[in-house]
Symmetry: C2
Subunit: 74 residues, 2 copies
Amino acid sequence: MKRTPKSELRDVLARNLRLFRAERGWSQERLAHEAGLNRTYLSAVERSEQNISLDNIAKLAVAMKVSASELLKD
Amino acid sequence: MKRTPKSELRDVLARNLRLFRAERGWSQERLAHEAGLNRTYLSAVERSEQNISLDNIAKLAVAMKVSASELLKD
């Protein structure tokens, strides 16, 4: 069965989320709470396993006071 | 019934898609084809009506040879 390869962009976002979170000393639970997302979902996003939607990217950006553009910067 | 407001980020992406498309002289149909997306779906994204996924943002960025970060730049 042909699998769609996970986009490299997922890895970029995952890395940036972990980085920005670390800068703030925030746990996944804290970020999930601030963004109004489920912690298990956020964990999957940070492992590049979840294809996140634009609206949820916006929530993460608002929670960490960064631009969505920065979250996707390689 | 409470509605989730459409994120401003949808508008940013929609504007950039139209802009980059115009720069290339591409129709929606052409971009949809190049990115392997449905034209009706792309049309809804450009009207901020569709909550696009990260993997599909990646496809649009690759098709237009821009970074995903640029696509979300305000």
